[in-house]
Structures are given as structure tokens and as C-alpha cells.
Symmetry: C2
Subunit: 148 residues, 2 copies
């Protein structure tokens, strides 16, 4: 736990996460709970769409990508609920057994004008396939953090 | 299943979903899998932040809100993987046993310039607390749909 606060971040800082592998069972569980579209659940249906296997729901890849970033344990005391996210883009289908990691770059520092005790950092996340290097997902995540 | 295609949508159409209730157990399961922050997992930690109980991870409320929209079963054959989402905003903390529904308004029709067989609709989703009417979440979701 690095216990970073708003003031410890700066535009241009880059963080790289560990990897995570998404299994067929993980995809099925997420899809059944939140996105029961046939191409997330059924290999035959996925093949009709030209995919070799089921593909992960976009929200699954996004949730996992944010988890990879959170697992860096950059902050502890500083974190407050996030105000939101921008520019979610799913660039490629994510197949079972894909191993991915995230490269996260601080892109904006937004100190609160009305509240001197916190600010928001904008972090541009790229989720990459470890084997091919292909870009799977990008998102600009907003994190609200206390100041020192 | 209404089996709608891109051409069946128009700016201004409004769809209202059924309701869903998020339990403490649901929140704990999602938080453990994707966002193990103390204020999502531990009542005492949530109280330190001024919340009366644990609060749902933003990605949980967002996934559930999209599920409510998908459960309208507006399309079947037409749906293709989504390109992305814009302007995710978490307006209020979501506590256990909150019952929510989604009001979804078609805000933009984007026929593909290069591909005559599909287009993208932008849908502005508002997730509302059924008891209080309070706005919990907004998102502009992009859905790629085949044309008739």
C-alpha cells in the first residue's frame, strides 16, 4: 500500500498492473448476471457473428481492468467514491483465456475549486492483450482523492 | 422480444425498465470480485466516510443498469458488440436494498458512413431510486445495431 494522496500524482505518471486471465467460466458467470446476450453465452451464437468462441461482455473487461488498477494499491486513506468515467471504448473482442494487463497514465489533475481537501485525477487506462500486445479497451477513469 | 433494428429507433424514444433491488450480499460479491475497497465491504469503514452502510461499487450499479435495459429485450438479431460508452456519472451512493429502475432515451442516431448494414444508437440512461425518485447514475450507452 503506497498510501498516495491527490498531491502525490502528476500528469504523465505511468503505472503498469499485473496480469489477469479471463476464463470461459468467468465470462459465463458475468454474462449470466449482467449481459445475457447469446454471443457472450453460446459458442455457436458467437460463431454466427464470426468470433471463434464466446466473447466477454464489455462491462466484464471494464470491471476487470479497473480491478487490475485498484490492485496496484496506490491509495488507502485518500480514496473517495468516484464521480464517473469518460470515453469507454471496446476496441477488440475479448476471448476466453485472454491474459491482459493495464497501462494507466495520469492525464489530468483537477483540484476541487470549492473543496480544498480533495481533488480528482483523470487516469487514461489502456487494457492490452499480453500475448499480442493488441489494445482491447481504453477508458478515462476519474478518481476522487483527499489531499495531504 | 421486439426484434427491433437500427431503423426502428428514433431520437426522443423513451423506454422504462422493470425494477431491480440490490442486496448487501450482491454488493459484497461484486466488490470482492472487482472493487474490494473498504467502503464497499465493511459497514464500519463506510460509516467513517459518512455513509449509513456499505455502498455499491460504481461498476456494480452500472452493470445492473445496463442489465435492466437489456432485459427490455428490444433486439435479438440486430445486436452487435458495443463500441463504447460516454459520460458515466455516479450521482449518489447506492445503499443495500435500494430498488432502482432505468429511464432510457434515444439521444442520437449514427448510421455508419462506411458500412451500409449497421448503425449506432446513443441511449441516455438515467438510473433512479424508485422510493425517492433520486437520480443515482447517468450514462450515454452506444449500441451497434444491424439495419433492416
Amino acid at each position: 500500500m503506497l498510501n498516495m494522496f491527490f498531491d502525490d500524482f502528476a500528469v504523465g505518471q505511468v503505472f503498469e498492473t499485473k496480469v489477469a486471465t479471463v476464463s470461459s467460466a468467468d465470462i459465463l458467470a458475468f454474462a449470466n448476471a449482467f449481459d445475457p446476450n447469446p454471443f457472450h453465452l453460446d459458442k455457436a451464437a458467437a460463431r454466427c457473428h464470426g468470433f471463434p468462441d464466446i466473447i466477454a461482455p464489455g462491462m466484464h473487461t471494464l470491471s476487470l481492468s479497473l480491478k487490475l488498477f485498484f490492485d496496484l494499491n496506490l491509495w488507502d486513506e485518500a480514496v473517495l467514491p468516484s464521480p464517473g468515467m469518460e470515453n469507454v471504448r471496446w476496441h477488440r473482442p475479448v476471448l476466453p483465456d485472454t491474459t491482459m494487463f493495464v497501462r494507466a497514465t495520469v492525464s489530468q489533475m483537477l483540484p476541487s475549486r470549492s473543496k480544498p481537501d480533495w481533488g480528482i485525477i483523470k487516469v487514461h487506462q489502456e487494457t492490452l492483450d499480453r500475448s499480442s500486445g493488441a489494445l482491447l479497451l481504453t477508458v478515462d477513469a476519474l478518481h476522487r482523492l483527499k489531499r495531504r
